[in-house]
């Protein structure tokens, strides 16, 4: 029998598979299989999303036939199957459910388009459909090989070293995303951190997008990223176009009106891999990589990025715990007069903690309050130098007493200022210290 592992690309879901069943009358039924999941070399699982004819047939007659396609060569394979059981909970169910929930959430179909069961089958026989292709190369893509996996393992060592050497969170995030691109070709990636104070994921760093998207928020449970975060589970979506079309068809037929959430990042992403960054049960954030190829990510990408994700989560936690403030020597700051720059209007909206610059949204919540505090001290007291400690001691900022993520909030603020208002800068002068640099005149309004 052809080893199932050797046709792993067929299980990516890029080209929809076919499932044939038969009822007790002997009447066949044939349809598309939403998702076929490789369990081991003798077992596969199919997603059961509706109580349909396929489900009823399997309850009457366990035999089934599936036809799958390699998305690279288009070669066809047939699997002769025997239905064993339908799992309603457990690790397999959770894994398959997370993928479907991600699609459902992204298409506004949460609760309607959901996994009812993971139907487990014994694979009796696998055959290559001889003669299916006439005259096109059916050899696997050389780029997807064991050599690639070996390179990843070497790269993992490199990335781990870089994470351990990072002096602060800012550099850690940049190093990781840069290494993911230069070593492994993940050209579109982002990190979102979980902000406990607002219960949302906030984009803190990205690479490979036209605009950084720093500050963009995702609600846990919504969209592909939100589902991965909520479920604390890796979500790998390949052949995204086909999956989303299916989800949209269900929504259209169901007549639901829940608005669709646009995917952060690439508008034409065909593959998405979302890795939760967690320490024990605590969600630190998520790492997201995207690709324009339908089969952009395989299982080994998933395994590899999970390890990287653990390293990042540990690194972020280490940066938070290690922060030693004013004892460290500070870099001297010259009290130079402000450079002449353009006139800016900074507006703080008290009710929703939002800060706007010249009428454009800049930042909100804790980073917004921090910016306003700094600007008021600059305006009223002429101060430029600040410490993390004084921010932590200010009850008006609303930082949680433990794991306050102050460093990540300052990074977010620094990057948003860099993008939206380079006349204002927060520059680190040593661990736990920074200065506020202001070029030009700033009008401050509070509403």
């Amino acid at each position: 029998m052809i080893p199932l592992a050797s046709i792993w690309r067929c299980f990516q879901g890029v080209i929809p598979s076919i499932i044939g069943t038969c009822d007790v009358r002997g009447m066949p039924n044939v349809t598309y299989a939403s998702q076929i999941h490789l369990i081991d070399d003798r077992h596969v699982a199919l997603s059961r999303q509706f109580f349909n004819k396929t489900s009823r047939n399997l309850d009457e007659n366990p035999r089934a036939c599936a036809e799958m396609h390699d998305p690279v060569t288009f070669q066809s394979y047939r699997l002769h199957l025997k239905f064993l059981r339908s799992e309603k909970s457990g690790a397999l169910f959770d894994t398959m459910s997370a993928r479907i929930e991600a699609i459902a959430s992204h298409t506004g179909m949460s609760g309607v388009f959901r996994l009812i069961g993971a139907d487990v089958f014994e694979v009796l026989h696998v055959e290559k459909v001889e003669g299916f292709l006439t005259g096109i190369a059916a050899e696997p893509d050389a780029g997807i090989s064991i050599d690639g996996i070996r390179n990843e393992i070497r790269g993992l060592q490199y990335v781990s070293e870089q994470i351990n050497r990072a002096s602060d969170l800012d550099s850690l995030l940049d190093i990781v995303l840069e290494a993911l691109e230069s070593y492994f070709g993940f050209t579109h990636s982002m990190v979102l951190l979980h902000d406990d104070s607002i219960g949302r994921l906030v984009t803190i760093a990205s690479r490979g997008y036209g605009t950084s998207g720093v500050g963009a928020e995702v609600e846990p449970g919504r969209g592909v990223i939100g589902v991965a975060a909520n479920e604390r589970r890796v979500v790998r979506l390949t052949g995204l176009d086909a999956s989303l079309r299916y989800g949209r068809a269900v929504r259209r037929e169901s007549g639901t009106v829940d608005p669709e959430i646009p995917l952060p990042g690439l508008s034409d992403a065909q593959s998405v891999l979302v890795i939760p960054l967690q320490l024990c049960d605590r969600l630190v954030g998520v790492l997201v990589v995207e690709d324009r190829e339908p089969a952009g990510f395989g299982e080994w990408h998933e395994s590899y990025l999970e390890v990287i994700g653990n390293q990042i989560a540990l690194g972020i936690d280490r940066m938070s715990d290690e922060e030693i403030e004013v004892d460290a020597p500070a870099i001297a700051v010259k009290n130079e007069p402000a450079v002449q720059g353009r006139r800016r209007t900074l507006t703080y909206y008290v009710n929703d903690d939002c800060v706007f610059i010249d009428g454009d949204y800049l930042i909100r919540n804790v980073p917004g309050r921090i910016l306003w505090k700094l600007m008021r001290a600059w305006r009223q007291e002429g101060r430029r130098e600040f410490t993390n400690r004084e921010l932590r001691l200010d009850p008006h900022l609303g930082l949680p007493p433990v794991k306050d993520n102050l460093e990540s909030r300052l990074i977010l603020l620094r990057r948003r200022l860099s993008e939206k208002c380079p006349d204002l800068r927060i520059v680190s002068t040593g661990r736990g210290r920074f200065v506020l640099e202001v070029d030009g005149a700033v009008e401050m309004l509070e509403k």
């Binding site: 080209i15 929809p16 076919i18 499932i19 044939g20 069943t21 038969c22 007790v24 002997g26 009447m27 066949p28 039924n29 044939v30 349809t31 598309y32 509706f50 349909n52 004819k53 007659n61 035999r63 089934a64 036939c65 599936a66 036809e67 288009f74 066809s76 047939r78 002769h80 459909v129 001889e130 003669g131 299916f132 292709l133 006439t134 005259g135 096109i136 176009d241 086909a242 079309r245 299916y246 949209r248 068809a249 269900v250 259209r252 037929e253 169901s254 065909q270 339908p294």
Partner: protein, 153 residues
């Protein structure tokens, strides 16, 4: 009254065709079809499957006479399933070759629109083909969602 969308799906081109059969031992088989020709009342159909890849489906159909065909517009996921009795199995004639080729090209165009290059799909075996003449006894809406599986007549 059959839904206009489904009727277009059954009678028009640019559709995916899946074919299923089962042997006397109730073991199912399935393959991809190339083309279907149906009348507007969905009484009869001719289903074309490649000779190269339809061995089990044909053997079953010859034995049990039962066949199911799923026709889908893959972009919209609008689909229907036809089931019935196979009245004849024969090699598709040369007169039917242009129809089969036309349907293949129409579906290749659809696949090209969703990212599968035409050159790949056109490499799929399609000729010579079997023609299965089907008397349609059951027809179901196969569009995913709450109406999936409902009888069309």
């Amino acid at each position: 009254m059959i839904d206009e969308r489904l009727l277009r799906c059954a009678t028009g081109g640019g559709t995916s065709v899946l074919v299923g059969s089962a042997g006397p031992d109730a073991v199912p088989a399935c393959c991809r079809g190339i083309a279907v020709s149906t009348d507007a009342a969905l009484q009869r159909a001719i289903v074309y499957v490649p000779l190269a890849t339809s061995r089990d489906v044909i053997a079953n159909a010859a034995s049990t006479k039962k066949l199911s065909v799923m026709i889908t517009r893959i972009v919209e996921h609008v689909g229907l399933q036809l089931k019935g009795t196979v009245e004849a199995i024969r090699m598709a004639s040369d007169d039917e070759a242009s129809f089969v080729r036309q349907r293949l090209n129409e579906f290749a165009d659809v696949l090209d629109d969703v990212g599968l290059p035409r050159r790949i799909f056109r490499g799929v075996a399609h000729w010579p083909a079997f023609a299965l003449e089907l008397k349609i006894e059951e027809a179901y809406d196969q569009t995913p969602g709450p109406r999936a599986g409902s009888a069309l007549r």
